[in-house]
Symmetry: C2
Subunit: 138 residues, 2 copies
Amino acid sequence: MDQRLSLVTLGVRDLERSLTFYRGLGWEPDRIVEGTVFFQAGAIVVALWDRELLAEDSVAVDSGGWGGITLAHNVSTPAEVDSILDSIEDAGGQVRRRGAPTEWGGYSGVFTDPDGHAWEIAHNPFWRVTEEGATLLD
Amino acid sequence: MDQRLSLVTLGVRDLERSLTFYRGLGWEPDRIVEGTVFFQAGAIVVALWDRELLAEDSVAVDSGGWGGITLAHNVSTPAEVDSILDSIEDAGGQVRRRGAPTEWGGYSGVFTDPDGHAWEIAHNPFWRVTEEGATLLD
């Protein structure tokens, strides 16, 4: 199995609400097919799909809450972290942790989308975000 | 907020067990720092970290189960789907859905890792997996 990921699907309870939220952050769907929203997010795809259908398709029992996965979006400066977090509540999400220096030498904060999916917005000075949008450990 | 994702962190209960599992699938960590395993997975990073610490860092209440996010790894043929699924149980995961044609015209199956994180292995003839490992909607 190659060391790569193709798709992250976020189960949502109200597709229109989620679509409005991600649009509010500046994301625009590349395709909407039969109730599934697909964003080309750099080299991978992020999808929004009905949470019950996703649970069934994944042969998973839905806990109803957070399930041990957190997403992150890295940016090049602490100011960009704050700028994104400042836009979250107007868009319909919740800031859970304001931007602040981290123990590991970076700067980050956390928001949740309307379904409670957690996103860390981070500046990691030891990683590199390329012009093409890749995040590299080097 | 740019339309891209940098990092997916999987909360795990036993880091060694998870590392052994992902190594068994052919993944090799690029860095292990203070109990966190980082894989450069194409243009993004996949990390394994203690689930309790991840919940705390994410300001999340841990449901203990699946929380509405499923990952997918796309390949170029149905035979590759079956080949990956055939390797899962020896590596320490569980096949939840065997490879089979899907309603949307592809072919997929699902496994869970030792912590129950769900991965769909899929062949989607309408998408493109590039030689560099990007998954594109076009």
